[in-house]
């Protein structure tokens, strides 16, 4: 496919673009934007991770400094989960700004993840965010269109196309050559982004370049975006070849950009929300609580489930009242209550996330006609800033919360007397050494292997697009006319 003639045409396209003088101003502007995006990414990553690990530590210190106490006091004292940013979020912010960052973990209650960047936003966030990934997904295609819209159409207008073809050069060679030249130019714009991302990763504290996972992500990003740029360049040349004039080619390309980048994603996402409505927090809480009351609510003094449990406990241990049991009874009740409520909550949360996935499905489907959606998804997955990665954080935090509550309940069952303290007697406590024995919350980024499925479809689509757009070049070569 890449014979000498194509290569010659590619080289010629490259040098004539440089000669035209437009390259230097565009390239300088581009470098400026890349520098700003890199700075923003770096700043946001380091500042937030510093703040979050600082408060994670502060909260831990006060946890450990608690004196001897009743374990249930500590279950309410609780802990925090502050979400750390993945180092690759410097490259692609993904959903970072729209997901919560801070979660209070306590017994009996699953709190909401609060303080997303969006909740502090003045409305500016609605216009999007500048990140390296955004520049590659949104701005670079525009630059490619600009550099390539006249690639074939101008030759046709100036009637040089006929000359080239009459010299024995095939249509295919022209199209492949021009696409190759345009891709090379696109890669020239991509190169500084790769370099700067490498530097950001190299100097960041996350040190992910020391891990295979990190390298796989980084290489995945390079390959996917390179593929995206090949696709964009090929489409540009195709549209240029199919248009009578360069003006027509430009207008078509700009329309394509607007439709695919601005219009389509918003419309399909709105459609998804319309077809699959998700519950509000009130509805969610109400339905969870309703089910809890049905199955067994430990806060209800006459709950049938807990009454039955009590009776069976008494008969198994052959005692007449709960204070004769060999363990602390209220600790036991709370352990059972926590188990039931956590189980119900998790089930409802899974259903909610399923609804969200259904909402997103419309947009995901359009990846078939919209490579922008495909690259956006793939990029977020690889950067650890997609919804699956966020859910993983939520999951880890909830697991930790559950362990904290149950550990305190078990300590109470084991170490706290069943008999209520007499008036004037000091309240029961256990040693503070138990506090530091319980480990701190440590968030671990989900490995690529567990989240990669989230982008599976988009990966496939991106590859299909790559193959199809290259095939189209050959197919088109048989159909287009020189004049």
């Amino acid at each position: 496919m890449l014979n000498e003639t194509s290569q010659l045409i590619a080289r010629q396209f490259w040098s004539s673009t440089f000669r035209s003088g437009v390259m230097y101003p565009i390239l300088s502007l581009w470098l400026l934007m890349v520098a700003y995006a890199a700075y923003s990414g770096w700043e946001s990553y380091t500042t937030h991770n510093h703040i979050r690990s600082h408060y994670q530590q502060t909260a831990r210190e006060s946890w450990e400094n608690n004196p001897d106490k009743h374990p249930h006091r500590m279950a309410h004292y609780g802990s925090f989960a502050f979400r750390l940013k993945h180092p690759l979020s410097m490259f692609d912010f993904g959903l970072e700004s729209f997901t919560g960052n801070a979660l209070f973990l306590e017994a009996h209650k699953q709190n909401s993840v609060n303080f997303s960047e969006a909740s502090f936003s003045t409305g500016l966030l609605r216009f999007g965010e500048i990140s390296l990934a955004m520049l590659l997904q949104v701005i670079l295609p525009l630059i490619i269109f600009f550099l390539g819209f006249s690639a074939v159409a101008a030759e046709r207008e100036h009637e040089t196309l006929r000359m080239i073809l009459s010299q024995g050069v095939s249509w295919r060679e022209v199209l492949v050559g021009k696409s190759l030249g345009l891709t090379a130019l696109a890669l020239l714009f991509f190169l500084p982004v790769v370099l700067v991302t490498f530097l950001l990763l190299l100097f960041s504290e996350g040190d992910i370049l020391a891990t295979t996972d990190g390298w796989l992500r980084f290489l995945g990003i390079i390959i996917s975006y390179a593929l995206f740029l090949v696709i964009t360049s090929a489409i540009t040349v195709l549209i240029s070849a199919a248009s009578k004039t360069s003006k027509a080619a430009l207008v078509k390309l700009l329309a394509v950009w607007l439709f695919l980048v601005i219009l389509l994603p918003r419309t399909t996402q709105a459609l998804g929300g319309y077809v699959y409505p998700a519950p509000s927090r009130v509805e969610f809480d109400a339905s969870t609580e309703e089910e809890l009351i049905q199955i067994g609510d430990s806060h209800n003094p006459d709950d049938p489930h807990f009454n039955a449990l009590k009776d069976s406990l008494l008969s198994v241990h052959q005692v007449s009242s709960v204070d004769q049991l060999p363990f602390n009874y209220s600790g036991f009740v709370m352990r059972e209550g926590e188990r039931i409520s956590a189980e119900i909550y998790n089930r409802h949360l899974r259903a909610l996330h399923h609804t969200y996935q259904q909402q997103n499905r419309f947009t995901q489907l359009t990846a078939l006609i919209n490579p922008y959606v495909a690259i956006k998804t793939v990029s977020m997955v690889l950067s650890g800033t997609d919804f699956t990665s966020y859910r993983d954080f939520q999951h880890q935090a909830e697991t930790y919360r559950y362990q904290l509550a149950q550990t305190m309940n078990e300590l109470q069952m084991e170490l706290i007397s069943n008999r209520a303290p007499a008036p004037g007697e000091a309240p029961y406590v256990i040693s503070r050494t138990y506090w530091s024995e319980f480990p701190d919350f440590a968030y671990e980024f989900a490995p690529l292997s567990t989240v990669i499925r989230g982008g599976g479809w988009s990966w496939a689509v991106l590859i299909i697009w790559g193959v199809v757009s290259v095939r189209l070049l050959s197919y088109w070569a048989k159909r287009v006319k020189a004049v």
Binding site: G94, E117, T122, G273, I293
Partner: protein
């Protein structure tokens, strides 16, 4: 002449397609807005219904202990919305309009978010505001970029300018046909919105409509100015789209990351930690210290002696209140940071029309960050009101049955936005008039034969 120009323009396939596209999206956006209103209303109804159920249930479970009952009871406070929210959803989807709070520590409750699909938030709402701010400029660009150049490139300019009395007037006619169609689409969408949504034509709505109309005029002026340079169609299309990308995407987005980095909000996290520590450490200090702190703020409760028992509700509610009091400083510092962000973006918005319009729309629709901050203030007052109502009853161990629980229905917060006509319109008016003047100055140099 007018008729011919109109016919010629309207018959073009691209005109029809683009117009229909915008009309469809505009209609969809109004329907989306309607759905948003319905969703809000449903949540409010649900909250009202749920509140009664929840109170009855708990009043039955904890019939002999008012202090314990109020440990559990959650009261609903709602940020009422204007139907205009449907047209500019703003921050309303991110920040919850419904607070359900207990009379315990407020700082641990008031920032609780609603549930939302982050992908929806990232992609953004398809509301009429979006159609006006983003899409109408594109419609205007598509209609006008080759106003003059298509004649020159198509070779008809020579003919036109020799026949028409004044080539400038001819261009004026052509432009006015396009202006007419743009405003016709705009008008139709407003008619549809007014019919479909429970909007009343009050001052806010009129300013909203007026602003949107003026914003279109700004883009028309900008296009006229670029056309008056008399460059090629490709050049015009590219420069206008670049201006659009810079004004509607790059500048606001850069500004957003700049502000986020200039004003990080660590206070949000310190508030959380301080609130927890402030309350919980009270369990381990002398009760007297806690009570003194509490009585200093509320001397009216000094008459209640602290019960002899190890635990009493008087002591408990004093502890949680001090937890709030001790984190208040961080909480206020956080508010200050957010205000700084708000202020900075408002100043910058003077120079970036799409941003200015977005902020104004959100103000009018009561969906701005500012509105949310006021709602938080309102929540604080509501919380205090409920506390002060129940404190004496709890401390006196009043009977649960004597309280008329049915009277506790959700309460509403309402804040009328302050409309400042001058500030809202001035920057746009200035830009629009300036650009039109430049365009006309350039056009007067227009020569018929080139």
């Amino acid at each position: 002449m007018y008729q011919i120009l109109t016919k010629q323009f309207i018959r073009s396939r691209s005109t029809v397609i683009v117009t229909l596209l915008i009309l469809t999206l505009g209609i969809v956006s109004v329907l989306m807005g309607e759905q948003f209103l319905n969703k809000q209303q449903r949540a409010i109804d649900e909250a009202a219904h749920y509140q009664q159920e929840h109170i009855q249930q708990n009043a039955q479970w904890h019939a002999d202990d008012l202090g314990l009952l109020l440990y559990y009871l959650r009261f609903t406070f709602i940020n009422s919305f204007d139907p205009l929210t449907a047209l500019s959803v703003g921050q309303r989807d991110v920040n919850s309009s419904i607070q359900r709070i207990t009379i315990r520590g407020l700082e641990g409750q008031k920032y609780d978010t609603d549930l939302h699909n982050p992908t929806n938030l990232q992609v953004g709402n398809l509301d009429l505001g979006f159609v006006i701010i983003y899409l109408f400029p594109l419609l205007i660009i598509a209609f006008t970029y080759d106003l003059l150049s298509e004649e020159k490139e198509g070779g008809t300019w020579r003919l036109v300018s020799s026949q028409a009395n004044s080539p400038l007037l001819y261009l004026g006619y052509k432009l006015s046909v396009r202006v007419g169609l743009v405003y016709a689409v705009w008008f139709l969408l407003w008619v549809f919105a007014l019919l479909k949504l429970p909007l009343s034509l009050d001052t806010n709505a009129l300013v909203f409509i007026g602003l949107s109309g003026l914003y279109l005029a700004f883009w028309l002026a900008l296009c006229a100015w670029v056309v008056s340079w008399q460059r090629s169609s490709s050049f015009n299309a590219l420069s206008l789209l670049s201006v659009w990308v810079v004004l509607a995407v790059l500048l606001p987005a850069s500004l957003n990351s700049l502000l986020a980095n200039l004003y990080p909000v660590p206070e949000a996290l310190s508030t959380m930690v301080e609130q927890r520590d402030g309350y919980h450490e009270k369990w381990d200090v002398e009760k007297e210290v806690t009570m003194n702190g509490f009585f200093a703020e509320y001397p009216q409760y000094q008459k209640y002696p602290l019960p002899e028992e190890e635990f009493s509700w008087l002591w408990y509610y004093a502890m949680v209140h001090l937890g709030d009091a001790e984190s208040r400083q961080s909480s206020e510092a956080m508010r200050e940071k957010i205000r700084q962000r708000e202020q900075a973006s408002r100043i910058a918005a003077w120079l970036i029309p799409p941003l200015h319009i977005q902020l104004q729309f959100n103000d009018l629709a009561q969906s701005s960050l500012d509105n949310y901050l006021s709602f938080l203030d309102g929540t604080e007052e509501f919380h205090e009101k409920m506390r002060l109502y129940f404190y004496p009853k709890i401390f006196e161990e009043a009977s649960v049955g004597k309280e008329n629980w049915e009277s506790f229905t959700p309460e509403y917060f309402a804040e009328a936005p302050e409309v400042n006509w001058g500030l809202a319109l001035a920057p746009l008016l200035l830009f629009t008039v300036g650009l039109f003047l430049f365009a006309i100055l350039n056009a007067r140099k227009l020569k018929a034969f080139e």
